[in-house]
């Protein structure tokens, strides 16, 4: 039944942004089928940015993706229809992942324990992946979380240092320092496989 409703709400030839706005308005009225249509449209983008910031796919990324959509539902009334809904949702999703990173900031495993992160950055390595076979995505995933988050936000997502500093609750100078560190580590790791 929901599929039928969702399909009916997604005309193939209509502009996506207008469709999104119509779906948001319907969702604001409590129409969960409309919100499901928004989910289906944007889940790849939301899960993508969360995965990149966490450095891995899996249960935690899926949990945070769920959280992001629940937060979006709860905060939908704050969407002003001035920008694309996808952009608003993407930002909310990134902030959901950044909140998770901030939450673990005080824990010893967050930075400095690079051996630990070599392991968690490779959930599927388990002896199958050697350093020589490591590609760029994997190399990024092995970076310490905060350094990785800054590099991903700056070099992949295109955020400014000011935006990163705000998102990660750090000084702009710290963001720049973390980027410098992350790039150095990345070059080293890529150089190891060359």
């Amino acid at each position: 039944m929901l599929t039928t409703i969702v399909t009916a709400l997604m005309p193939a030839n209509a502009p996506a942004v207008d469709d999104d706005h119509s779906l948001v308005r319907a969702s604001l009225g409590g129409d969960t089928a409309a919100f499901e249509a928004l989910y289906r449209r944007h889940v790849g983008r939301v899960h993508g940015v969360i995965t990149r910031l966490l450095g891995r796919r899996g249960q935690q990324a899926e949990d945070l993706t769920q959280d992001a959509f629940v937060r979006a539902w709860q905060a939908l009334a704050s969407y002003r229809f001035e920008s694309a809904f996808g952009t608003w949702l993407y930002r909310l999703a990134a902030n959901t992942a950044l909140m998770e990173l901030r939450r673990h900031r005080g824990e010893p495993a967050i930075d400095g324990d690079e051996e630990h992160f070599e392991r968690i950055g490779h959930p599927d390595s388990a002896g199958h992946t050697t350093a020589l076979a490591m590609d760029l995505e994997r190399a990024v995933a092995t970076l310490p979380p905060r350094a990785r988050a800054v590099l991903v936000l700056y070099d992949v997502e295109g955020w400014t240092h000011e935006e990163i500093a705000d998102g990660l609750d750090m000084a702009v100078g710290t963001s720049k320092a973390q980027l410098h560190r992350a790039r150095g580590l990345l070059r080293t790791r890529l150089g190891e496989q060359a």
Binding site: S27, G29, T32, V49, E62, Q74, A77, L136, H180, R183
Partner: protein, 185 residues
């Protein structure tokens, strides 16, 4: 979009590598359909009106359950308590304000039957993926409690609170099914 003013510095990345990093920005679908779990967490409420903004996330306790199997038992316990309360209320309903316009009993029963079918269809997909050997006793406990609430609802078809309790149990059942389906065998 940022403009890389560090580009000329010693730590500047090679242009090709920078382009490769930008290319990492792509969509990535999750391995599972997350909608049933999201739907269960939305409840029947409309999005919060402004200026309330986002309500506190129910997510950390939620995620915590996934990380510690022992907490799954707590979920089942909560479900049991909820069901016990609901059943007790059939004898002594709480002094809740009565709706201005009572809903027809047949409507509530019809809604409950429809909701039961939809939730069952949703969690059956997860149950089918649950690895063999995973303890599903908590699911069975929730099922028993839901059956008791449905029986109570048949006896008191005006009881909207029983319908809501049933919905809560189903949401917990769905989420627990999803969690169990992702456990290693």
């Amino acid at each position: 979009m940022n403009i890389d003013r560090d580009h000329d510095h010693d730590d500047a990345l090679h242009d090709e590598l920078r382009r490769s990093l930008r290319a990492l920005r792509r969509d990535d679908l999750p391995a599972h359909d997350l909608w049933p779990g999201i739907r269960a967490r939305l409840g029947d409420a409309r999005p919060a009106p402004p200026p309330t903004a986002a309500a506190p996330l129910p997510t950390r306790a939620h995620r915590g359950r996934s990380r510690h199997m022992r907490r799954l038992a707590g979920l089942a316990t909560a479900a049991s308590l909820a069901a016990a309360l609901a059943i007790a209320w059939t004898v002594a309903p709480p002094p809740a304000p009565q709706p201005a316009q009572p809903v027809a009993a047949s409507v509530i029963l019809h809604e409950a039957a429809h909701m039961t079918d939809e939730y069952r269809a949703a969690w059956h997909g997860f149950d089918a993926r649950r690895p063999a050997g995973v303890d599903a006793s908590a699911l069975h406990e929730i099922d028993r409690n839901a059956a008791a609430v449905r029986a109570a609802l048949r006896k008191d078809p005006d009881a909207r609170y029983l319908f809501e309790r049933l919905q809560s149990l189903y949401a917990q059942r769905l989420e627990l099914s999803r969690r169990l389906s992702t456990l290693p065998s």
